[in-house]
């Protein structure tokens, strides 16, 4: 550690910054797309119709039961090129993280909705509301509040897991840390820098979530 070279960090500073922006961009896109997809999958999974429920359940099992790294490789080399016709690693990274987050957020929706007392849905039904009205006015508004901590958690996990897309050469923070490490043959300078930046991202997000939770 005695020969810690700040000049390496300095040389790579613009790349670290650009990588950080990509990390943020990939994570935010992943959580947003994943949450939307997760909503469909979550409600499908709660459906009383087996032909909706079973495929959604299979989806959740697959994405929660296999390694994210594997999913990233399959999506990049197998899916994105064939379906979207692009080899862009950033697109593949966002798609893979969104597909993975969808499985987890689907479970968050389910847990949130099922945590609402059955008396609430019975009262809504007894007042003549349709299933949709009951969800829209009674169940979801109460459930959303309970979902916030779990969503925050999922987002934090996603930011950290986004480092895995370095393996498909998506130019985010982890990618540039590895590049710096191999160029200079150094460990501490690039990886410690990356660690500090990841910590800054997850810590500020955590603070923001605590603030949001208190406000609601």
């Amino acid at each position: 550690m005695a020969d810690f070279r700040f000049d390496i960090i300095w040389d790579y500073f613009p790349l670290f910054m650009r990588g950080t922006l990509y990390t943020i961009g990939i994570s935010v896109s992943g959580i947003i797309l994943g949450s939307i997809l997760g909503l469909l999958i979550g409600f499908g999974n709660m459906s009383s119709r087996w032909y909706l429920r079973l495929p959604m359940r299979g989806y959740i099992h697959f994405f929660r039961g296999t390694p994210l790294l594997l999913q990233i490789l399959i999506v990049h080399y197998g899916v994105v090129y064939n379906v979207l016709g692009t080899t862009d690693a950033i697109v593949a990274a966002i798609v893979a993280l969104a597909l993975n987050a969808a499985a987890y957020t689907a479970e968050i929706y389910r847990a949130g909705i099922q945590s609402i007392d059955r008396g609430q849905s019975e009262a809504a039904k007894s007042l003549g509301m349709t299933h949709f009205q009951m969800m829209r006015y009674i169940i979801v508004p109460q459930a959303v509040k309970r979902m916030i901590p779990a969503f925050g958690n999922e987002f934090i996990v996603l930011i950290k897991d986004s480092s895995l897309v370095a393996v498909i050469a998506a130019p985010e923070l982890m990618y540039w840390s590895r590049a710096a490490s191999s160029q200079y043959g150094k460990i501490w300078e690039p990886y410690l820098t990356a660690a500090v930046i990841y910590l800054f991202l997850t810590y500020s997000l955590n603070k923001l979530l605590i603030y949001l939770e208190r406000k609601m």
Binding site: D117, E122, S126, G128
Partner: protein
Amino acid sequence: MDAIIQVKDLSKSFGPNVVLSDIDIEINRQEVVVVVGPSGSGKSTFLRCLNLLEMPERGEITIDGRPLLDKHTRIEEIRAEVGMVFQHFNLFPHMSVIDNIMLSPMKVRKRSPEQARKKGMELLGKVGLTDKAEAYPSSLSGGQAQRVAIARALAMEPKIMLFDEPTSALDPEMIGEVLAVMKDLAREGMTMVVVTHEMGFAREVGNRIVFMEQGRILEISSPEQLFDHPKHERTKEFLSKIL
């Protein structure tokens, strides 16, 4: 007679447990029917079948001439005509008292906010809680919450009101205020089906008392008959324990 509720051969079981078997009863307009019996006798399940919060397995239910179990019947339309009051109030905790009351008239009956609010305030006046319109349910006592729940059900202008042990979760000193509201309602001619352990209320307000045990109706009589000269040994035994 002019029956608004007709129940024929209603049966239901949860797995191997038979909770209702061959229930037959007709309830007339403006009648107050009180259902009593030991816990587990199926009285709440019977009540919850009347607005299909429980699905019967067999039998027929007709509400105001409409068959409840016909697949062409839109169950929401019938539920809108049948108010229900629950043991645990089930107010919506994320809405103020007046919003609790206004929501369904606006969304289901398509009333304007002004109309819904006017009717809601009128009903709050009726249950003696005008000053609580903007309060949230968590700030209410049990008795107040249950009176709001009654006002919320009445806001839909139902033809029938179902009460599922409305005073069982209340502190003793709050039972009276809820029963008073229910008595007013009975006096105004509301058709009511009440599951309760309040025998004083049953005797005073009920036109007929239904005694249930093990999923069956053992006896349907006038209050005088049932309380003073019960036909069944089992009814006598039950009454001797709780009176």
